[in-house]
Amino acid sequence: MSQSLRAFRKLAWVEMKLYLRESIATFFTLGFPMMLLLMFGSIYGNKPTPIFGGYGTVDVSVPSYATMIIGTTGLMSLVPTIASYRERGILRRFSTTPIGPMVFLAAEVSVLFVMTVAGMALLVATAKVVYGLRFMGNVLSVGAAFVLTCLSFYSLGFLMSALLPTYRTASTVTMVVFYPMLFMSGAGIPRELLPAWMRKAAEIFPMTHAVTLLKGLWFGEPWSKFGREVAMLTAVLVVGTVASSRLFRWD
């Protein structure tokens, strides 16, 4: 086994444990989406309704909440964590060792991805068992869109963490970006309930396109309808990856 691979596995394992020890991060990734689902589920149930195109509240919520989980791990958790690692000199300490930035970034991405998938799995399982969740799409298609959205958000998160120097600024800016995006994009509240102008304004957020894509594929619509969404998310991924790898600093 090569040295980098060994370092990567060990680092990912330790970082995973550290993620789980941060009870707030764990709650917002695993517990909170499930809690929202049970709350709105118990109010509205999952009866098909015309505003949701013949699907129930839970049915439309699950792909939306999936996007919320991705935003939680990729932005809310990643950005302040990396900023504080840099501010405290934790990254500096890694920089004294022979491991390169790629090993570090790969380990971080893996941990976030595993946590995102775990949050998603809990959500889907709860929705299925409690409300008989409906799924009309193709698992592979939805999986591919899920991975694209994850990577796109992580790269945006790494870019933000490269630009924001301290934990304080990082967590403030992330909240300012995250919450309007969460409520206007349709990730937190069904978009159908929002006024038209707000839906229009929300188009600037990558999260809006992620919700459109995931929800569409979830209910079996074809990829061809979502060229714009895929292009937007891919653009964020490319720009985020290129810029954050250029801007990455250990200290």
Partner: protein, 295 residues
Amino acid sequence: MAVDDVSLQVRVGEIFTLVGPNGAGKTTTIECMEGLRTPDSGSIRVLGLDPRKDKRQVRSRVGMQLQESALQPHMKVWEACDLFSSFYPRPVDWQALLDRLGLSEKRDTVFAKLSGGQKQRLYVALALVNDPEVVFLDELTTGLDPQARHAIWDLVLEIKKRGKTVLLTTHYMEEAARLSDRVAILDAGKIVALDSPDNLVKDLTAEERMTFAAVSSLEPFQPALVRSVPGVTRVEADGDKVAVYGTGESLVAGVVGALSSAGVKFTDLRSERPSLEDVFLARTGKRIRREEGGR
């Protein structure tokens, strides 16, 4: 400019110390050697390699303790050792390392719960985990209480005993004198003196100062009693408190002899040899700030 025209060579197996007041350029110098910082000009070789260009190779063969750094607050001591071991091809047994550093009982403690001294010892453990040939220790004992500082000193001497080359920075002159084979005194980015601590002090023409309290008699102390002792340059008497200044190896013996043959009893005899502090004073005309380091 933080550092200007610093040129030095560290020998294999020695403890070499960069000492000087805060802001003298010690950390800048050591960071250039570590490859964490790029000098504007000049050349640096560590183990015959360029610390910037041959980064990976250098980093697997040296160990570094940084002045400002931390670990993840929730990471346990053993996890840190285990993790850092995985970065190197031939790590040492970190359990034994923790034993030697007195950290075995803290294996399961998270970083945030460690005391300052324990954190420093953990940093030393991480700097040694790859069995390095050269160890860089930057301000290792700053902010530690005297007891923890002495424990760390023993540790540094032990690292040397195991055949490692140690490069140390400190603003404590006493620490430099205690540990180093050779010392470079830095001030305002320049080396003002470089030699073994003994040689630096020997070169100094500073006087030794000895003090005592004359217990005798009714009459005041007669400075003339000791003024003629070889090496004595000056005597100050204030009531029964006497200070004698002079040079030479036999100063104290001479003065004590003169006192006993004159039948003068005395207590509280002290002698202060010149220290690196005096070397610094002599070379720069400034006093190093003592409130932090001196005791």
